[in-house]
């Protein structure tokens, strides 16, 4: 069965610190990969996505993620976080050929301290 794990439940960083949020998935076939962000009281928004091609993808607000196929990982990074990055971050995996096989990770709550 497909599953997505995120390494950290809650991360606390000071402003300007670097961020890396881990995401691993288990599925042997071809997948699409996503990171979504949910700011307090808001809906989920897409940060970035990987469908194919360059495994290093850049998203909005200075975020990037690297797909490492051999490790089934899609870690999210940002070199310098800001207070406004405080949010819940969700990794998601979808099977390319199926509408219903979209699995979200449990989420990582990021708190950035000014």
């Amino acid at each position: 069965a497909q599953s997505v794990s995120q390494h950290n439940h809650h991360v606390i960083l000071s402003e300007a610190a670097s961020l890396e949020l881990g995401c691993n998935y288990s599925y042997g076939g071809t997948v699409n990969l996503f990171w979504y962000v949910q700011y307090p009281g808001q809906h989920l928004q897409l940060l970035l996505k990987y469908f194919s091609g360059d495994p290093l993808v850049k998203g909005i607000k200075g975020f990037e993620a690297e797909f490492i196929k051999s490790k089934f990982s899609f870690n999210l990074r940002k070199p310098s976080v800001q207070w406004s990055d405080t949010a819940e971050y969700f990794c998601a995996v979808s099977v390319k050929t199926s509408y219903d096989k979209v699995i979200f990770g449990p989420g990582t709550s990021l708190s950035v301290i000014p």
Partner: protein, 112 residues
Amino acid sequence: IAGITQAPTSQILAAGRRMTLRCTQDMRHNAMYWYRQDLGLGLRLIHYSNTAGTTGKGEVPDGYSVSRANTDDFPLTLASAVPSQTSVYFCASSPGLNTEAFFGQGTRLTVV
């Protein structure tokens, strides 16, 4: 403004009552989805529809039903609510396979 509208934004419901959560999108997306968000579990797919007239079951469909009479609307019905259905419900849409999803603002449902 294009997007997804969910109603109501929040609701307290007595157990055993019937409830329909409404979802409308104006982006002409083919696919629509209903998720529930629970702390520590992320989002779990309840039902989906890849095109008008077609629906399918997701990971946690029991106790829920959906319909897709047209492209824009995708209501979610709880026939007889139970406390374990207390959650935040998100409707989403996407243009099709291999595209990202766009989410509504969510409906916070409390079943007492």
